[in-house]
Symmetry: C2
Subunit: 336 residues, 2 copies
Amino acid sequence: MKRVSIKDIAQAVGVSTALVSYVLNNKEKEARVGQKIAEVIRVKARELGYQPNQIAKSLKTGRSQTIGLIVADISNPFFANIARTIEDEAKKYNYTVIFGSSDEAADKSQNLINILLERQVDGFIIAPTEGSEEQIRSLQDQRIPFVLIDRYFPDIQTNFVVTNNYQASYQAVRHLAGQHRKKIAMIAYKSELVHMKERERGYLDALKDSGLDSDLNLVKEISYNFIQREVGEVMGQLMRGHPDIDAFFFGSNALSMGGLRYLNRNNYRIPETISVVCFDESEAFDLFYAPLTFVNQPLLEMGKEAVRILAEQISGKQPQLDQVFVDSALIVREKH
Amino acid sequence: MKRVSIKDIAQAVGVSTALVSYVLNNKEKEARVGQKIAEVIRVKARELGYQPNQIAKSLKTGRSQTIGLIVADISNPFFANIARTIEDEAKKYNYTVIFGSSDEAADKSQNLINILLERQVDGFIIAPTEGSEEQIRSLQDQRIPFVLIDRYFPDIQTNFVVTNNYQASYQAVRHLAGQHRKKIAMIAYKSELVHMKERERGYLDALKDSGLDSDLNLVKEISYNFIQREVGEVMGQLMRGHPDIDAFFFGSNALSMGGLRYLNRNNYRIPETISVVCFDESEAFDLFYAPLTFVNQPLLEMGKEAVRILAEQISGKQPQLDQVFVDSALIVREKH
């Protein structure tokens, strides 16, 4: 497909290329182009399928008014919903969001960063994957505006917007202990990323401060790619090894779904036999027989903050670091 | 931020621009460049944050190896999951997917098409919104490869991959009638798009063929943007006007969620008092107290077919139209 040029339009209408250029760059007033001929040129440009050369335009203004969003897994409702809030928010700044999903794989993340950079995004919002530190450092070296979301790297000084994971987990597990639960297990991801480590740390500290054993054998880590298969197995092992487990803390929405399915299948009653608190929520909770207590992450606030920080960075307003920890709320719903 | 050029790298290393160009275009063997100097040039290019000019590259090969995916609403699990299958599938063809969400708004859809076109995607997979016919015609006029997914326009001859919505609805409602349900209501979207119209047509024909009244008053259409608010109200009105309703057919996953919440809140027992069939599924169904019957759309097959058709179109293999109707399966789970 040959690209339609300004010259093609000029020839088709029978005017000079300069005239077409004035009109298509909205400078017809300065150049005193008649309204009628401007309209003819616009219609013809549309007919021929003319696409303005965004690259040339961007070089002039220095902006493309697009943001690249890289989420860790678009099929996860947490990311799908945060993508939606970021879009809605970006619209207010007149930014369009184009996004990609890294599927928690560092090589896919690098590929997406390259592709979006080549396509002249003004900046990035990224939920970084394990092992993507060098990509983030490279963005810094190139002075490309970006904000991390959901996760960050403690060793790299970047802008970020994350949940206060430690505090949220701590509060959740203290709540379980307050319900007189004595043996609280945690199901987490196998991940070196700080958000998951912080959730585990909050869990362990809450046990200690509640005077309960903080037994590392009660924390089980599941591979990200095999949640549905592994959760059931791992919980089965846990319950056989520790039949006195009376509560589960699930470290994410996907882990919660797998875990609740396991408990249902094996006829554990919630909250009578087993208490449950879920990190993050799911619309599925609304259809569950028992009201579930969960950690409510403020997606709207996270999306707003991320877009604000990025927009300030792009416009050059913001030289300092902006590191935002948003607080989650524990939504207590079970009745004892 | 100034773009790093080949000249910058050449100066930094102290070699000719031709030499740098050979190396960065992987032609060092042809040009007999030493391995050591090639490595030095590559390292320096990385250090300086050199980005190859994708546009120039694309003009040479005619390909950017990227696909633009425009979904109707990324926060809807149907689209989030189909985005994931399209990504996985595209990877096999060595395509990267960048996507945008139109939020069912024609102007946003046009904006995304423009932005992705300017960024040289090789083609599109689009779930078209209401009122986007001209955008689709314009893509055709420009001979840009694309495939519609989930919805299509009967008046425009395009490639598409959609569920056989009529057949799926028909089968679902015949199933309800087979369970001796006498008054079956349908909750649908307010939409002129063919997929929703076909679901309504399937419902009405199934009623007729089952010897039941097909009363248009039993079909209620909800605004897309106010599902959660409207579903409850509308169902309340329906039940008051027709207290003998004994089954609901929900026209989408979001409508099902709202509808099930209403039935729960008002203590209707499923399936004892009210039978339910949902079009499309939700992971929430797994946590519902009653096994729910639903229309299972083959997302994997839809994603595969869409990518296959688009890849064939891009490579110029496919001159004819490829219009794929995939069959859904009715997953019957309730016990009476």
